[in-house]
């Protein structure tokens, strides 16, 4: 308990440093362990926010054959189909009917179903229209509506494409910054621990207090590293090797500088 108390005392003495140390450690660790998952999440988030190339249809369900949706999915160029909510269908159809002064009651809107057909981004304009035409033909002889194509802003397409690439670079840079922050805060924490350990060694009959406190205070980290090596998450990882060497380097620098200043008996 003595060494743990000393470590916690040294760690929490500078609260800002402790916060930076903890945050950067978890960011770094999380980003390192789950970088592929984070990249996928960022990619998906971006594609969700960006408006997809799509068009909507509304049709009476009882007029459609089985496998209507499967047929649409098989059309080349169709990425996916998404059901549209009833409220949205009603609203849009009402708008059209009002425009042409048609009596809504005749149509019985509640029996309409809606689908949003999302197309591949890189489909040419000609092919986009071909898909829309084919779907219209599938809906022929039924009471149905086919909305015009919703095309995302071309500039936005280019921007988001670049943005996706940039976001992955930003992820890597963030990991690097988190690692640097961790190293710097580790350095200051270590200096503080050495100062306290030096005093303890001078006034108590104890040796290697700093190393013992460091080992006990970082026992969860050491456990994590061992688990990482065992579970092969860290094996053959150049970045992991650099991280360990950097920590060892900081430890050596601090030890040597404290010895030079007569503040360490190590």
């Amino acid at each position: 308990m003595f060494y743990l108390k000393l470590f916690i005392n040294a760690f929490l003495e500078k609260k800002v440093n402790a916060i930076i140390y903890s945050l950067s450690f978890f960011i770094m660790l999380g980003a390192f362990l789950y970088q592929s998952e984070i990249a996928l999440f960022a990619s998906n988030t971006l594609s969700v926010k960006r408006k997809a190339l799509s068009f909507k249809i509304a049709y009476r369900e009882n007029q459609m054959t089985n496998g209507f949706e499967a047929k649409i999915l098989k059309i080349p160029g169709v990425l996916k189909i998404v059901p549209v909510q009833q409220d949205s269908i009603n609203k849009n159809i009402q708008k059209v009917l009002l425009k042409y002064d048609i009596n809504q009651e005749l149509l019985n809107l509640e029996r309409f179903q809606g689908l949003k057909i999302i197309l591949h981004e890189d489909l040419s304009i000609k092919n986009q229209e071909m898909v829309r035409t084919y779907v219209s033909k599938l809906l022929a002889n039924t009471n149905s509506f086919v909305a015009p194509l919703s095309v995302p802003n071309q500039d936005l397409l280019i921007q988001t494409g670049n943005f996706r690439g940039v976001s992955l670079q930003v992820l890597k840079i963030s990991m690097f910054i988190a690692f640097l922050s961790f190293l710097i805060s580790f350095y200051f924490m270590l200096m503080n621990l050495y100062k306290k350990s030096f005093i303890v060694e001078n006034y108590q009959r104890k040796k290697y207090v700093a190393l013992k406190s460091l080992a006990i205070g970082h026992s969860p980290l050491i456990f994590l590293l061992l688990w990482g090596i065992y579970s092969e998450k860290f094996q053959k990882s150049f970045i992991f090797l650099i991280a360990i060497l950097s920590l060892g380097f900081i430890l050596t620098i601090v030890t040597k500088s404290q010895e030079r200043n007569g503040k360490s008996s190590l």
Binding site: F2, E13, K195, K196, F198, I199, V200, E201, N202, Y203, Q204, R205, K206, E259, R260, G262, K263, S265
Partner: protein
Amino acid sequence: MQVGNLSPRLTNSVHKFQSLFKISNTNIFIKKNMILNDLNLDINPADFIFLTGKTGAGKTTFLNFLWGKSKNLKISGEVIRPGDHCFIAKVFQDLRVFNNETIIENLFYAYDEFIYGSEENFKKEIYHYAKILEITKHLESKLSECSGGICQKVAILRAILSRADIILLDEPTSSLDHDSSMIIYDLLKILNKKNKVTIIWATHDSELVRKLSGKILHIKNKRILDTGNTCFI
């Protein structure tokens, strides 16, 4: 004035040796610069030594040499040191106290469960000495709120509480008035007489040394001269 006791284990080990340090034909260097040369002296258990000399004469260097934990020093010559069971505590010239901690928290760096048994016993000893040094009312205050003199008393008290066999003091009373300096001297003298603690007190204040009783080692021209004992005026 009553003082605390050394543990019996430590007292017996100190008396085992006739000399604590036996230094023969020894030179001390810092980075190839010779600081002290041709040292020939013995330091015995229960010695009370004043180490005097001008600023920059090498008093701190000699204390560091006796302390044995400084990696900057290179030694040539024959030196016999006390074993590991002889504990040396040092009071630093720059004090090395923690200003953002309270006096009690600073003193607790000297708490060794093996020696005191419990924190309660240690606190009793703190309050006992704090009364002598007149710092009782400041014990819960942070050192940053206290004067330099109080910080110096805390640094000295920390060394006393460590129950060391040898206490090295580097300019321990530089920030203290005459009366406080005399209290420190009286306290250390009792520790020396009753508990056989070896005291080595480095100071450039020859006025103070003239008023006190102890063996004097004077540093001049890179040599240490044994000028005998002072006596009370």
